[in-house]
């Protein structure tokens, strides 16, 4: 009996051990260590770590206009980016579930930006905003292209939103297409026979039936928009005048450039709570709207 028990323990260790040890070392330990550091004045270099209580959190909330600014930017950005990328993805998915001749090629085209990392995409679009758009503007005289792209707060904000939507829409499109193809044909036909207009079909049949896909896409869009870092770094570096600095970039700068690790971990801790709360609320709300056929 005892030998069987120890063999069982050995199996547990061999099968779950390696993955769990890496996971614990890389995720769990830093997570709790970060919580601890957020209550200290650690500068990242010295061995001396002094407990400072809630000082970091007071500093962030009352004495750090840049952080609040970057937080407000991230919120506005996420709202715009989540709505635009999902509306675009859903529209494209609706079109590409029709029997078009170039359907598969077009699906590939829309997905393509997704395979190239955010950092490279940011550099690509930097060129387009700085050189490409003015050139088109000269040729066509369309005011849109002659705006000072990336040059002032408003256009830089929308510039990042455009690139984010362009990058992520293809991914959400795939999820929406899968969901749309699973909408039962007989329900659609029955509704059409009953005289439902196209928009009634959309709001009263299609959207409720694909709610699980909406839940997933909104979750991914919200968490990606909140965590945006690569795109931000390569496209604007937070400029002009820190107007497009995301929370992720602000945390990075605080810790690794200003060497204020205690303050940085406190910001990271608050960031985690906000992301967790917002995504949980979103999943709760959209899940409650899911229906069974």
């Amino acid at each position: 009996m005892n030998r069987r028990k120890s063999a069982d323990w050995l199996e547990q260790l061999v099968f779950v051990g390696p993955a769990f040890i890496c996971f614990a070392l890389i995720v769990i330990v830093p997570f709790f260590l970060g919580m601890y550091y957020s209550f200290t004045d650690w500068n990242g270099v010295s061995g001396k770590v002094t407990w400072s209580g809630l000082a970091n959190f007071k500093q962030i909330l009352f004495n750090d206009p840049d952080f609040l600014k970057s937080f407000w930017f991230t919120v506005r950005f996420s709202v715009a980016a989540v709505i635009i990328s999902n509306v675009l993805a859903f529209t494209v998915a609706l079109i590409l579930t029709r029997p078009l001749k170039l359907r598969n090629t077009l699906r590939t085209v829309f997905f393509l930006p997704n395979v190239i990392g955010g950092l490279l995409l940011g550099f690509i679009w930097q060129f387009i905003f700085v050189k490409g758009f003015p050139a088109i503007g000269q040729l066509t005289n369309i005011p849109f292209f002659n705006l000072p792209w990336l040059g002032d707060e408003v256009t830089a904000f929308w510039g990042i939103v455009i690139v984010f939507a362009w990058q992520t829409a293809g991914y959400f499109m795939v999820i929406y297409i899968a969901a749309l193809m699973n909408v039962p044909k007989d329900i659609m036909e029955a509704a059409q026979l009953d005289g439902a207009k196209p928009w009634q079909l959309l709001y009263q049949i299609i959207v409720p039936l694909i709610m699980p896909a909406v839940t997933v896409c909104l979750f991914l869009a919200i968490s990606n928009a909140f965590k945006m870092f690569d795109l931000n770094l390569s496209l604007t570096k937070g400029g002009p005048f820190k107007s497009t600095e995301s929370v992720a970039l602000n945390i990075y700068t605080e810790a690794f450039q200003n060497n204020r690790f205690g303050l940085g971990t406190a910001k990271a801790f608050l960031f985690f709570i906000v992301v967790a709360v917002i995504t949980t609320i979103q999943v709760r709300i959209t899940k409650s709207k899911e229906v069974e056929v």
């Binding site: 078009l100 490279l120 387009i128 965590k227 870092f229 390569s234 929370v247 990075y252």
Partner: protein
Amino acid sequence: METPRYTIRTFSLEIIAILLGLLFLVSFYFVIVNSFKTFADLLTDPTSLPTSLMWDNFVRAWKILKFPTVLTNSLIITVIANLAIAFLSAMAAYRMVRHPNKLNNFLFLIFVAAMVIPFQSIMIPLVRVAKTAGLFDSIFGLVVCYIGFGAPLSIFMFHGFIKSIPMEIEESAVVDGTSTYGTFFRIVLPLLKPIGVTVILLNSLWIWNDFLLPFLILQDPTLKTIPLATNTFFGQYTKQWDLALAALVLGIIPIVIFFLAMQRHIIEGITAGSVKG
């Protein structure tokens, strides 16, 4: 059931979709076309096709980026991390599904719950932990980090898949006297191929393109990956767009080829990965 006819409406939708598709590709047109121009041509007329092909931009970018080295680094890291994540996650998920005791249910809960932690929330202490544990500035260390971050989602996906495999196949093997290890390697592992492909492809896109983690963990310039090299490149050659665009084209070619070769599986993977309870 009759097949839907190709109507005028469908045709106009096709036109709209094609126009939207072209709009999506315009950015690539700009980058590719201009990467072949001389700097002067690029400045005077960024919209036209190049008059002559400047391969020299690519030759110089290739050298400055040390492209063979960074490509090899990216490949090594992506391949090893992928194999390690898929293998270790499959093992862990298998045990958790087949021995659903209190401990394993708790561990599974922790793995899944950790998926909501944003990377930026743990990156600061992670650097410290990596230094203490001897994982800093080494490919092995970076791979361990990828296992840690990749395990939750991969375990989650394997877990769901293994639950759907009937126990009978394994039971008959056990009756025939196969050990648990033998059962896993000879019977279960081959069955996991479909979900394994999905897990590996999704992790490949992520690891290949990842910037921040290698940026924090790798210091040695000879260990640079493609995103790291591109970032340093842009720091040094900010306004030399002819060189910079050639470097960008070099950087995106490998992953675009990989995607075009694997696209059916990648699309299926996303579809499978998003359908969760």
